[in-house]
């Protein structure tokens, strides 16, 4: 009786470990569901929206300008931030605020990206902490799942003027 119970317990533990490993690999290498909070990506992503992010683009190095990405925060490795890629390495980006009279530009260094939230007035992003190393990117958001009336692929940036063409 006890041996049966022990056998069942070990089998259950074995299944849990197996599923745990598969789930971990899936989240790490394929993608997962993310709940977003904060106002910095409005109107594209509102507070407590649920989105699906895929991690394949970062492993194959095909993150493009204009993608919305999930990035480990440069100042706090335990938290994640969600922003749009405005410039890749070598691109020229505008570092000054839209309200400034004199515009300043700089080039994104090698191995880094320039991130900005869609809600430019209420977003701490690369204009605050500088270009972010590519290695901190965790995944690319490809689909919005919740709220259901806004289901689907994400729109283009409302701030098209921030993208400077070479």
């Amino acid at each position: 009786m006890l041996r049966n119970g022990l056998g069942k317990a070990f089998r259950f533990l074995g299944y849990t470990v197996q599923y745990g490993c598969i789930a971990h690999c899936a989240f790490e290498y394929l993608g997962g569901i993310v709940v977003c909070s904060g106002p910095s990506m409005e109107p594209t992503i509102q507070n407590s929206d649920i989105v699906f992010s895929e991690n394949l683009s970062r492993h194959f190095y095909c993150i493009r300008k204009g993608d919305i990405v999930i990035v480990k925060s440069p100042n706090d490795p335990k938290s994640n931030i969600c922003k749009r890629v405005i410039g890749l390495e070598g691109d020229k980006v505008c570092t000054s605020n839209p309200s400034d009279f004199l515009k300043s530009h700089s080039y994104v260094p090698k191995g880094h990206v320039w991130l900005e939230g869609d809600n430019l007035r209420n977003s701490t992003d690369s204009r605050c902490y500088g270009p972010v190393p590519y290695g901190l990117i965790r995944g690319r958001i490809c689909l919005k799942i919740w709220p259901l009336n806004d289901f689907g692929f994400l729109r283009a940036s409302p701030n098209g003027h921030r993208f400077l063409d070479d």
Partner: protein, 95 residues
Amino acid sequence: SPRNPEQKIIKRVIALEGDIIKTIGYKKKYVKVPHGHIWVEGDHHGHSFDSNAFGPVSLGLLHARATHILWPPQRWQKLQPTLPPERKPLHREQE
């Protein structure tokens, strides 16, 4: 590596967030390591592509800690976490 995301580099941690250290060949003579970052240097000063070239490294880029050398067998050893005395931080932030 902060400059090349495809590459992994192996260096020694010299300073943690909040410490102020004296740099070798960096654009600023003294650097206070920002929150969430570390300062890394290779043991062979002057011939190392480390924080003296690319600045403090975000902790999110940290991949793993090297504990032992396995190969070649004559160099089999445990890597000691020692800080060279001349590279000690000037001011350590007390926790």
